[in-house]
Amino acid sequence: MNREIEAEETVTEGIDLERVDSLIEPYLGRKEMMIPALQKVQNHFGYLPRPAMEQVSKRMRVPLSRLYGVATFYAQFKMKPRGRYIIRVCKGTACHIQGSPKIAERIEETLGIESGETTDDLRFTLEEVACIGACALAPVIMINDDPHGRLSPDKVKDILDNYQ
């Protein structure tokens, strides 16, 4: 068997399509609800796996091209697997002045990924955000729901080590 096909099937096997069905059940027959349906799916899987999108397309009778168009239009939808921990580095004015670029740089060095990427072990995803709204703590990052403020590059490693 072709290796690519094999790989594809493994991915499909990993995605619980029955779970997808139950997630989107409330929206069946209502094509205008495709965004909430995709949100539900993403909340469950952390991103939008292709087999799940195909299942949504089939069940909601919305062309896959349309779902893909919607999913790639809105920044909130992710097409690739994301880490267990999402690091959001604040790029707001206050943080910028207080050295957030250096923080981001150190995180990138430590994890070996660039902003927007995910580590191979799916532990971290690194993102930059406009402003977290905690300027008093500048420079600040968030890891999932935890804020970490008044950072310096040297503190980065210890903080990351706390998230396994």
Partner: protein, 812 residues
């Protein structure tokens, strides 16, 4: 509401409320440029090239979306407007490859035309440009999204008009592009290669592969013709350069396809130029074909036929006509067979459609499709059962989509999803083989809720009481048990169908060869009679045929029991009429049918057979080997075709015929519409138009026929055929006509049975659901009744076309 008066470029115009400025201006002949506007799609005002100046308005307005207002004074080409349009063009050009020298679209590119018109040669906006890979993975067309200007017309057409949903806008901002899901190659998407995106692209982003480097638009001659594939009969332009067809585009101004096509019409004509075409008459000598002159071939045929007639009599001869030949050819062919003194003439493929023909004949007295394709677009409800028009007759599915967009209710009954389920209001996933029970159950629910059209039943039908008694058993509960459809779904589908002012039924069950489908046709006829959905616009029973001229071949009398226009050979007055016109006696014995000969045991009565463009060796219904053995065992076999088919290979003489694009003639589509096709290229080698070959052969057989062109043949046929009596090539050149068209002034008939059925009253029939096989009841699929392929359509054209492999795999 009163009309709106406004002034456009100094001229006053009056329009209805709701008219856009663009529409109003076009009415005055003002040429406002547009990119994203398409009359078939809702306007979206995205491209900004149609901006116009409205006096006292704060800004320029997009004329495609702005409604005309009372007292408006509008300038469509003012300084300010031109400046704005230049800016729009400059922005587009900044991110567009200016390779017009080699671009296939040069000469018919809107971007190029408007830049020329407004003197935009380049852009002073530097910055990033798109660098996308192009997609040329499929056999049909190239997608170069670097040239795309994001007008969105292809997206609208693909999503809403066609329903393929293969492409949409992906991403956003600078990286926006039109893409299949996950930006995969288009071939891996749900694209059906109808070509509409290509035909409506204003720039060179979507380019058909076949015409690459073959000719500029101004070097191409366009000849109007009719697609030779299915029975819809789409109007096409054949693009010709140097006696070669290099492209096809749809004709917009016609009521059949209105600018739409499917893959077959758009790409399926490459066989015309195949190196395998027959180019010379062939005679078999010691088992090997040798090329001979026309004189030798026809002389040999005439001698052989005369010899067999002397030995065995006229009834040892049989003619097998094809549902793909022109009316003229079919007419002359049956005339020739009858001149030989026999009525042994039939059209083989017709018998695939026997369930439809027999059922409609019984219920209404005529087998023709009751209403027109175009009427579907304005119907109130559509019931699709045992059909997938998206695959078999795509134009019909486009019209159903249009009806649904306008508010029609769509009921689909099929165990599996079909090409219309995505927009269906009711998808009844019945058990295989239980369709008759479902239809009877719907009839029961309609009667129970008093939704039948009692006035219609009383005045226009007979047999109602027996029918009502029979369907009384099919209560919703019982029907639910048999079909697996819940009572509630059944009732709501029944209400949707019966509640619409006009409702249409679509089924290709007639195309299904499997036995027992006659019952479903009758059950559907009952349903239409019950609700008065006959004899009026946008209603009726759509059982479209498979082949392009099956209707015509039947109309032309290429049938064993009737002459043209279904005039029975048994009737003396008919025989006298034809004898007088033709100058020969007509046999009063009904001839043998193809079914009699191939399956009914009458095969040994036939010693010589003439076959036109038909390939019974591979057609459905007969064992290949058995049919081949039979044909090989005949004393004499003549086959006329455009290719050396499996059947032709068995012949004693093979005659090379012209294909549809190489001759003049008419085809009658499944809605009884007679359409003119014109020669666009010369036939290869010594090939000739079929009607001319038959006329020539008649001369060799000693018959004194003289025709001055195909029009002459048509006139003779029309003079003998009441349904065609008012038609002529002159009239058809102005536009197609639907029979019955009895006089030269008659406009033709869009739908049948207004006021009266062919048999007088419409006949209700009692049809019972046959017992389901155990396997069916258990829900196994694909083995029996509900079935949508068009097996019959894969004859010598498809087999040799690029669409061949594609059509085996299409479907969602």
């Amino acid at each position: 509401m009163s009309a709106i008066k406004l002034t456009i470029d100094g001229t006053e115009v009056e329009v209805a409320p709701g008219t856009t400025i663009l529409e109003a201006a076009r009415r005055l002949g003002r040429d406002i440029p547009t990119f994203c506007y398409d009359s078939e799609l809702p306007p979206n005002g995205a491209c900004r090239i149609c901006l116009v100046e409205v006096e006292n308005a704060r800004t320029l307005v997009a004329s495609c979306v702005a409604p005309a207002g009372s007292g408006m004074v509008i300038h469509t080409e003012s300084e300010r407007v031109i400046r704005a349009r230049r800016e729009v063009l400059t922005l587009l050009v900044a991110n567009h490859p200016l390779d017009c020298i080699t671009c296939e679209k040069t000469g018919e590119c809107k971007l190029q035309d408007y830049c020329y018109r407004y003197g935009v040669a380049d852009s002073n906006y530097g910055g990033e440009v798109k660098k996308l890979d192009y997609d040329d993975t499929n056999a049909f067309f190239l997608r170069d999204m670097n040239k795309c200007i994001l007008c969105g017309i292809c997206v609208g057409k693909c999503q809403d008009v066609i329903g393929a949903g293969a492409i949409d806008f992906a991403r956003r901002g600078f990286t926006s592009n039109v893409a299949p899901p996950f930006e995969d190659p288009i071939e891996d998407s749900t694209c059906i290669f109808c070509g509409l995106c290509m035909d409506s692209c204003p720039v060179g982003a979507l380019i058909p592969k076949y015409s690459f480097s073959k000719g500029r638009p101004w070097q191409v001659e366009k000849t109007r013709s009719v697609c030779p594939y299915c029975s819809v009969g789409c109007n096409i332009y054949l693009h010709v350069k140097d006696n070669e067809v290099i492209g096809v585009t749809p004709v917009e101004e016609n009521p059949v396809n209105r600018g739409h096509l499917c893959a077959r019409g758009k790409f399926g004509w490459d066989y015309l130029q195949s190196g395998d075409r027959l180019t010379s008459p062939l005679v078999k000598s010691n088992g090997v074909f040798i090329e001979v002159s026309w004189e030798e071939a026809l002389g040999f045929i005439a001698d052989s036929i005369e010899e067999i007639m002397e030995r065995y009599g006229s009834d040892a001869i049989m003619g097998l006509c094809s549902p793909k030949t022109t009316n003229e050819e079919s007419y002359l062919f049956q005339k020739l067979i009858r001149f030989l003194g026999t009525n042994n003439v039939d059209s083989y493929t017709r018998h695939c459609h026997a369930p439809a023909v027999d059922g409609m004949m019984k219920a209404f007295g005529s087998a023709a499709m009751t209403n027109s394709i175009e009427e579907l677009a304005s119907t109130g409800a559509v019931f699709v059962i045992a059909a997938d028009p998206y695959v078999s007759h795509p134009i019909i599915s486009y019209r159903v989509r249009e009806a649904v967009r306008k508010g029609a209710k769509l009921i689909v009954a099929d165990p599996d999803p079909i090409g219309l389920t995505d927009i269906a209001h009711h998808h009844l996933t019945l058990r295989d083989g239980s369709a008759v029970a479902l239809v009877n159950g719907i009839a029961n629910a309609i009667i129970e809720e008093g939704l039948q059209d009692q006035l219609f039943i009383d005045r226009r039908t007979e047999g109602y009481d027996a029918f009502r008694a029979a369907v009384a058993e099919y209560t919703p509960r019982y029907t639910a048990e048999v079909t697996g459809i819940s009572e509630e779904d059944l009732r709501s589908a029944a209400r949707a169908y019966a509640g619409a002012g006009s409702a249409a039924i679509i089924s290709t069950v007639g195309m299904d060869y499997s036995a027992g489908n006659g019952g479903l046709v009758l059950a559907l006829a009952n349903l239409a009679l019950l609700t008065g959905n006959l004899g009026k616009e946008s209603a009726g029973l759509y059982l479209p045929y498979g082949e392009n001229n099956l209707q015509g071949a039947s109309d032309m009398g290429a049938l064993p029991a009737v002459l043209t226009g279904y005039q029975p050979v048994k009737e003396k007055s008919v025989r006298v009429k034809f004898a007088r016109a033709w100058g020969t006696d007509i046999s009063d014995q009904e001839g043998l049918s193809a079914a009699d000969v191939f399956e009914g045991g009458a095969g040994d009565k036939i010693k010589a057979m003439l076959i036109l463009d038909e390939n019974p060796v591979t057609c459905v219904g007969g064992e290949d080997e058995e049919t081949a053995c039979y044909l090989a065992g005949l004393d004499f076999l003549v086959v006329q075709d455009i290719f050396m088919t499996e059947t032709a290979a068995l012949a004693d003489v093979v005659l090379p015929a012209a294909a549809f694009a190489e001759q003049q003639g008419t085809y009658t589509n499944t809605e009884r519409r007679v359409q003119l096709t014109r020669p666009a290229v010369k036939p290869p080698g010594d090939a000739f138009p079929g009607w001319a070959i038959i006329a020539e052969l008649a001369g060799w057989l000693g018959f004194d026929w003289a025709y001055d062109g195909a029009g002459d043949v048509f006139d003779e046929m029309a003079s003998l055929t009441p349904q065609y009596a008012g038609m002529s090539y002159e009239r058809l050149a102005q536009g197609s006509l639907q029979w019955p068209c009895p006089t030269g002034e008659h406009p033709g008939t869009a739908y049948l049975y207004e006021g009266r059925f062919s048999r007088g009253l419409g006949l209700f029939s009692v049809v019972e659901q046959e017992k389901l096989k155990v396997s069916e009841a258990a829900g196994t699929k694909k083995d029996a009744l509900v079935h949508h392929a068009c097996q019959c359509q894969s004859d010598s054209m498809n087999k040799r076309s690029v669409v061949r492999n594609f059509y085996r795999t299409v479907g969602r």
